[in-house]
Amino acid sequence: MTAFGKLIRTTAFRLTLVYLFLFALFSASLLGYFAWNTRRLITEQITTTVNAETGEISDIFSRRGLRVLVHTIENRALRPGANLYLVTTPAGQAIAGNVGSLAPGVMATSGWSETAYRRLDDQDAADHFALVKVTELSSGFRLLIGRDLEERRRLFGIVAKAAQWSVLIVVVLGLCGGIFVARRVLRRIDAMTGTTQRIMAGDLSGRLPVGRSGDELDRLAENLNAMLERIEALMTGLKEVSDNIAHDLKTPLTRLRNRAEEALAKAGTEAEYRSALERTIEESDGLIRTFNALLMIARAESGQARGNMDDFDAADVAEGIHELYEPLAEDGDLTLRVKTEPTPLHGNRELISQALANLVENAIKYGKPAPAALQLGAGGLESARKDILIEARREGDRVLLSVIDHGPGIPAADRKHAVERFVRLEASRTQPGSGLGLSLASAVATLHGGDLRLDDAHPGLIATLAIPARSGASDGLAVQTHDVSQKAA
C-alpha cells in the first residue's frame, strides 16, 4: 500500500471527510438562507415604494389631470437613480416616462410582473430586469411604475461568490487538517505496529512508545505495555518451568531407569528384584506428585480454578490443618499451635487448605531451630523456639493466614527467589520434596487476588497468605452455597 493510500484509509482521515461534507453543506445552506431572506427583503422594499408612488401618482392624475401627471412623471424620471415610469394612452401609445421598450404584453395586464426592459437613455443593447406594477387609471390611461432589479441580482452574485469561496476554503482547510491529524495518528500507529511486529518476531522485551499527552492512544499503549509485561513474565515463567521440568523430572527419571537397568543386570534373588521394583514405584510416585503439583500451579496461575469458590471461615481451615499436622509436628519434636479469630473468606477452600498445608509442611521440614540456637536459649525460650504457630486473622479487608516457625528462616535476599518453582535453597537440598510448595502457595494467593509474603520471625520464617476477604469471582456465589451446607451436613 502506498503511503498516500494508507493515509486516506485512516479513520482520522475518513472522519475528516465526513465532517468536511457536513461543514460544506452547513455553510452552503447558511448562505442560501441569507440570500433568500435578502431577496425577500429587497422585493418587499420595492413593492412598498412602488405601491406608495402608484397611489400618489394616481391621485395626481385623478385630481389634476393628464398634463400635471405627464409633467410629474417627466420630472421624476429625470432624477438620478429614478424608478421606471411609463404612461400610455388607451390606444397603447407611450406619452410619458423613461422606459424605451418592454417585453410584449406587460402593459396589457394590471398588477405585478417581472419583465425585461430598456431605458430610453440607455446606450448599451443589454436587457435589464425590473419589477413593475401596472395600474389602470380612469379613462383608459395606464400607468407603469417599477424598479430595476440590478441591485438584487448583484447582491445575489456576491452571496453566490461567498458561498463558492467559503466552501472552497472549508474543503482546503479541512483536507489539510485531516491529513495533518491522520498523519500524526498514522505515525504513532505505525510506531506501534513496528513494535508489535518486532514483538511477534520474538523480541518480547519490546514496549510500545508512550507519549506525554495522556490521550486515548497513550492509554492504549500503556495498557498494551502492561499486557506485554504480563505476557513476558508468563513466558519467562514458562521457560523457567520447562527448563526446571527438564531438570527436576529428568533427574528422577534417570535414577529410575538406572535402577531398573541395574536390577536387570545384577539382581539374582527375588528379594533383590522386589526391592528394586519397590524403589521404582516409590520414585514414580514422587514423579507423579511433582507433576500434579505443577499442573495445579499452572491451573491456579491461569485462573481456571476460579470456578469452585464458596464462603467459608479461614479459621476453620487453619484449625483443620492444625489438627491434621499436629501429630506430625510432634513426631518431629516440634509443637504446632493454632491461633484464630473469625475470618470469613470467599474462595477456593480446597486450594487454600492445600496452600496452608504446604506452608505447614515446610515449617515442619525446615523450621527446626538450629542446635546452636537451642543451646544458647534458656529453658523457656527453648520451648518457645520449638513452636510453630498457625494464625488466622484479619488485617483491614484482608485475611492473613500465617505460619510462623523459629528455624533458620530464609535470608532476605533469597526470599523472592524461594517462591519460584523448583527452588530448593541450598540449605535444604538434602530434604525430600518437590520444591513446589511455596510456588503453589503463591499461585493460590495470586488466584485469589492476594499474595504470599515471607518475613523474618527473628529467628525463623513467617510465611503469610494475604487474601482479600471478598476475593475473585463474586458470581457463582449463589450457586456454590449449597456445597457448603452439604459439607456441613
Binding site: 500434579n292 480454578a305 501429630p327 506430625l328 498445608a357 521440614k365
Partner: protein, 237 residues
C-alpha cells in the same frame, strides 16, 4: 483379603470401560488374579450397552472415551435408573475435575496414574456400599467395639478415650473392616481433603490411633498393608 476366605463368595463382576487397550488388558488380568470377573468395553457406546444389560457390581469408567465420553455415559445410565456404583478413572486429576465427575453421577474418582492397590481398595469399598447392610450403630472387630451413637470405644472391658478425629478415623476403618483402606481414601473421607500431602502425615495419625487401640493388647487389630494402606481386622478369625 484372606479375612473372608472362609466364606464362599460370588466373584465380584466388574465392567471396565477404557479405550487404551494396553491398560485395559492390564486391569482385566490384574482383577482376574484377585478373583474378580472383569469384562471390557473399548468405547462409550459399547460400554453403555454392556452396563445396561449386564449385572455388574462396579463400573470402572475412563473419562475420555471414543464415541461417547465417560461423564455422558454415566449421565445416561443414571437417567435410566441404573444405580451401579461407578468409579471414574481419569487423567484429569484436579479438584474441579473431580467435583465435575462426582456431580455427573460418579461415586468415586481416581486420577491417573494410579496404583492398582488403590484402585482395588476403592472398588472393594464401593461394591460393599452397593447393596451392603444398612449402616449399623455399632461396629465390632474382635473385642474392639465402637458405638456410633454414644461415641464410646471399648476394647475388651477397657474403655478407650479417643479424640474426635481419632474416633472418625477408627469409625471409617471399622466401617470397612476387612478391606484395605488407602492413605488417600482416609484423607478424603476422614479429613475431606483431596490433595496429596508431601509428608507421611496419615501414617502419624494411624500410629497414634494404633498406640491407643492396640498397645498393651495381645492381638493387634490395625494392620499395615504394604504398598497399599491399612486394614482393621481380627487376625485370628
Amino acid at each position: 483379603m484372606t479375612a473372608t476366605a472362609t466364606v464362599i463368595e460370588i466373584p465380584m463382576r466388574l465392567l471396565i470401560i477404557e479405550d487404551d487397550r494396553e491398560s485395559a488388558d492390564y486391569l482385566v488380568k490384574a482383577f482376574r488374579e484377585v478373583g474378580y470377573v472383569a469384562d471390557l468395553a473399548g468405547d462409550g457406546e459399547e460400554g453403555l450397552a454392556l452396563a445396561e444389560s449386564g449385572d455388574y457390581d462396579v463400573l470402572v469408567v475412563d473419562r475420555m472415551l471414543p464415541k461417547r465420553d465417560g461423564l455422558s455415559l454415566i449421565g445416561a445410565l443414571r437417567e435410566k435408573g441404573n444405580r451401579t456404583p461407578v468409579l471414574i478413572l481419569s487423567a484429569l486429576g484436579q479438584v474441579d475435575d473431580r467435583i465435575k465427575g462426582l456431580r455427573a453421577g460418579g461415586d468415586d474418582y481416581l486420577p491417573k496414574p494410579y496404583s492398582f492397590a488403590e484402585l482395588l481398595a476403592r472398588i472393594e469399598v464401593l461394591s460393599r456400599r452397593h447393596g451392603g447392610p444398612a449402616e449399623e450403630t455399632t461396629y465390632r472387630v474382635g473385642d474392639l467395639e465402637l458405638d456410633r451413637l454414644s461415641h464410646r470405644v471399648t476394647r475388651g472391658k477397657e474403655e478407650l478415650t479417643l479424640q474426635p478425629r481419632e474416633f472418625r478415623l477408627l469409625e471409617y476403618l471399622m466401617k470397612h473392616a476387612g478391606q484395605v483402606v488407602t492413605r488417600t481414601m482416609l484423607l478424603e473421607n476422614v479429613w475431606d481433603y483431596h490433595f496429596d500431602p508431601q509428608t507421611n502425615v496419615i501414617d502419624v495419625h494411624i500410629s497414634r490411633l494404633r498406640s491407643k487401640i492396640d498397645k498393651g493388647f495381645e492381638r493387634p487389630l490395625l494392620h499395615t498393608i504394604r504398598g497399599a494402606g491399612y486394614m482393621i481386622r481380627d487376625g485370628i478369625r
